[in-house]
């Protein structure tokens, strides 16, 4: 990660992909994340749940240093990915973000064609040797994001002309095409119909074979369906973090229980 090309990096087969310790996030004077410790495992889907405004997106953005782009945001504490401190001075956030992909809460396609949107990451990182390879990458990313059937005849049409749900899948395809090791997904199914949701969940399950996936969701059913681990956030605190089964059947904390049974949030 210290500016080493992807190919020269030796993959350390640790179980823990991301280790966060004592993370505090401030927006100016607002204390948005309060002393969060969490260990996110490789080849696992981890779900972040919690009421609106509790800091799920904020914490997610800490994991690929997207908070750097917000002037008033300050992050304290340690976050290690593959045993390396990502807030270390020597770390290039650009390299980090290539490895830790992100799907944003609001779909944000570029003002380019559908094809160019998906090809954006692969082009920047020189992932394709020729046009044919790039075509393949684009096609497979769109297929995996369940957008290929709708988009295959209009690849040169602008991405901004798609519907809200299609844009969301385009952004998923865009993130997947870059082949990150960790994929952070902030409410990726919020605008999707049940069929597309099922396809995206299938994709998440498939990604789990090779990657670590973190997904923020407001749907308890979705968290229960796709994740193996679940973290419950409340007012900036990580209240409970455990196996998904345990959280949904036998939560330790009262607040968790109230939330999943629909009494807070």
């Amino acid at each position: 990660m210290y500016d080493v090309p992807n190919s020269e990096r030796t993959v350390t087969a640790t179980d823990t992909k991301i280790a966060a310790k004592g993370v505090q996030v401030y927006y100016g004077d607002t204390h948005a994340i309060k002393d969060v410790d969490v260990q996110i495992a490789d080849k696992t889907v981890t779900a972040f749940i919690g009421p609106s405004g509790c800091g799920k997106s904020t914490f997610l953005r800490c994991l690929n240093r997207m908070n750097d782009t917000i002037d008033i945001c300050r992050v304290e504490g340690d976050i290690h990915i593959d045993g390396e401190d990502i807030y270390d001075k020597r770390v290039d956030p650009v390299q980090l973000r290539a490895k830790v992909g992100m799907v944003f809460q609001k779909p944000n396609p570029f003002p380019k064609s559908i094809y160019d949107n998906v090809a954006y990451g692969p082009r920047i990182h020189g992932m394709a040797r020729n046009k044919a390879e790039l075509d393949d990458i684009v096609e497979s990313a769109l297929r995996r994001a369940a957008l290929w059937n709708e988009a295959k005849d209009r690849l040169q049409a602008p991405g901004t002309g798609l519907s809200g749900g299609q844009q969301q899948r385009l952004c998923i395809a865009r993130a997947v095409a870059t082949e990150p090791e960790i994929l952070l997904m902030d409410e990726p199914c919020s605008a999707l119909d049940p069929i597309a949701t099922a396809q995206v969940e299938e994709l998440i399950d498939e990604l789990r074979q090779n990657y670590a996936v973190v997904i923020v969701t407001h749907s308890m059913q979705q968290a229960a369906r796709v994740s193996q681990k679940t973290a419950f956030f409340h007012l900036g605190n990580l209240v409970e973090y455990d196996d998904t089964n345990k959280i949904f059947t036998n939560p330790t904390d009262k607040r968790t229980e109230s939330y999943i049974t629909g009494r807070i949030g």
Partner: protein
């Protein structure tokens, strides 16, 4: 009654109408606002607009039309010989108006009684002297016809003014009365006001368009006049510009090509300087600069836009020209001998480019800043660097606006005169060498019109043809740019 009084009365009436109609609406709903169709202020606004808009519209039209009508009517009393020639006719009418206005002024100052003014005669009174006494200077003694027509003119104006006052106030009252009568709790005042606002906005847009058309027309007649005295083919295709002011028309060569060549050449040099520098500083300011740097540099850059162009002209003449000469001149350090004098297309182009930097940078900076942060986040989130993000996401998203900014700069460059006069020289030449003196269309328009030439020789009328052609060219440029921007928008929005 003077027009300003009428205006004030109508405004007062409108204000009173607002209060009255609002009160009537409230009364009709028994004082309960919820039973009204619209908010009470809409009823008031409706009545106020009814009182003011038609009346003021009529007043405006009257103010424009009355002098034209009086002119037309009175001028029919001029001798046939004078009426036949448009120039002499307008001179004679100017005299008539001057005498008429002078008499009115003398009466209002108390230097003459009303009867005295009405019964003046050329033989008995020295009108010129009496008007001179109140500060109205006449060019020559007043003759019989002029005095008679001036009196006629005064009468017409007086009657016109009386009719105007009565009519405008009547319209205001009637239209307000109608609106007031309609005011009741179920009257859809909100919709009516909405429609009235729409009409006002359309009217405002029309004024802008009509003015443009008016400008074109004012150019067109003189342009046609020019082409009736000078062959169009020689104007558009001629490669020499050599007006002679001594002989009437004979011997002048008025070729348009060297002028437009100079205009385009200098503009292109200016844009070649301004666009990269302006765009790069905009990118630096909006994407890289920290807050403190930005808060210092941006105002500093904008100061450039506030410098009068004549100062830039001096800068070109006194600093840039000699500097370039010392590098590219005959005895220059580079020993190239490309440049023979300080004034050159390059001098004017460089300085004009500096002048245009803030136009490009300030507008582009605003446009780049308005690209949503989500777009940047999306790119950074995929592992793109800052410059990749700027090149591949931000600039394409901001392109229509940036093209607009560049076009604005281009039209400034094409229309710029002062820098050219001082920096580029006055010789019209069709040369490829940017270090040679050149001149532009605008600079030549100025030099053709300064001096005491009358508008009846090709040497002066050519200014209108030049202006018209320049107008058409910039119009075509704007249409082209609009077309580019629209095509681009269609693709990406």
């Amino acid at each position: 009654m003077p027009a300003s009084w009428i205006f004030l009365i109508v405004v007062v009436l409108a204000a009173a109408g607002y209060v009255l109609a609002r009160g009537r609406a409230m009364a009709s709903a028994g004082g309960d606002q919820r039973r009204l169709h619209s908010l009470p202020s809409y009823y008031g606004t409706n009545a106020a607009m009814a009182a003011a808009v038609p009346a003021l519209g009529l007043l405006a039209i009257w103010l424009i039309a009355q002098p034209m009508v009086s002119d037309l009517y009175v001028s029919s009393g001029l001798p046939e010989a004078i009426q036949a020639d448009a120039g002499e006719r307008s001179l004679a009418m100017a005299d008539v108006r001057r005498v008429a206005d002078g008499l009115d002024y003398a009466v209002s100052q108390g230097a003459m009684t009303r009867e005295e003014a009405a019964n003046l005669s050329v033989s008995a009174n020295d009108i010129r002297e009496r008007l001179g006494a109140v500060g109205i200077a006449l060019g020559s003694d007043v003759d019989e016809t002029t005095l008679e027509l001036a009196q006629q003119y005064r009468n017409l104006t007086n009657t016109g003014n009386t009719i105007r006052t009565v009519l405008v106030l009547l319209v205001a009252l009637a239209s307000f009365g109608a609106a007031y009568m309609m005011t009741a709790k179920d009257f859809r005042a909100r919709n009516t006001v909405e429609r009235a606002v729409l009409i006002l906005l359309i009217a405002a847009a029309c004024v802008a368009i009509l003015t443009t058309i008016g400008i074109v027309f004012s150019l067109i007649f003189n342009t046609l006049d020019f082409f009736s005295r000078y062959p169009a083919a020689e104007f558009f295709l001629g490669t020499t510009w050599q007006p002679s002011f001594s002989g009437r028309g004979g011997g002048s060569e008025l070729g348009f090509l060297p002028l437009i060549w100079g205009t385009l050449y200098i503009s292109i040099i200016a844009l070649a300087v301004a666009v990269p520098l302006g765009l790069f500083s905009a990118i630096y300011l909006s994407e890289y600069a920290s807050k403190p740097v930005r808060s210092v540099v941006k105002p500093l850059l904008e100061v450039l836009a506030g410098i009068p162009t004549i100062v830039y002209g001096l800068f070109a003449l006194l600093t840039v020209g000699p500097l370039l000469l010392s590098a590219f001149g005959n005895d220059g350090v580079l020993q190239l001998g490309w440049m023979s004098g300080g004034t050159a297309a390059m001098t004017a182009g460089l300085v004009m480019g500096i002048m245009l930097i803030p136009f490009v940078s300030s507008l582009s900076d605003d446009i780049i800043n308005s690209v949503p942060q989500a777009m940047r986040d999306g790119s950074y989130g995929l592992g793109a660097t800052q410059s990749e993000t700027i090149r591949q996401v931000i600039l394409p998203a901001a392109l229509p606006g940036i093209v607009g900014a560049i076009l604005l700069a281009a039209s400034r460059a094409i229309g710029e005169t002062m820098i050219v006069v001082l920096g580029a020289g006055a010789a019209a030449s069709l040369s490829l060498n940017p270090f040679e003196a050149m001149t532009t269309v605008t600079a030549k328009i100025v030099s053709q019109l300064t001096g005491d030439g009358e508008f009846n020789s090709p040497e002066t009328l050519v200014a209108f043809a030049l202006g018209m052609t320049l107008f058409v060219i910039t119009l075509a440029l704007n249409v082209l740019a609009l077309w580019i921007v629209r095509r681009y928008r269609e693709q990406y929005e």
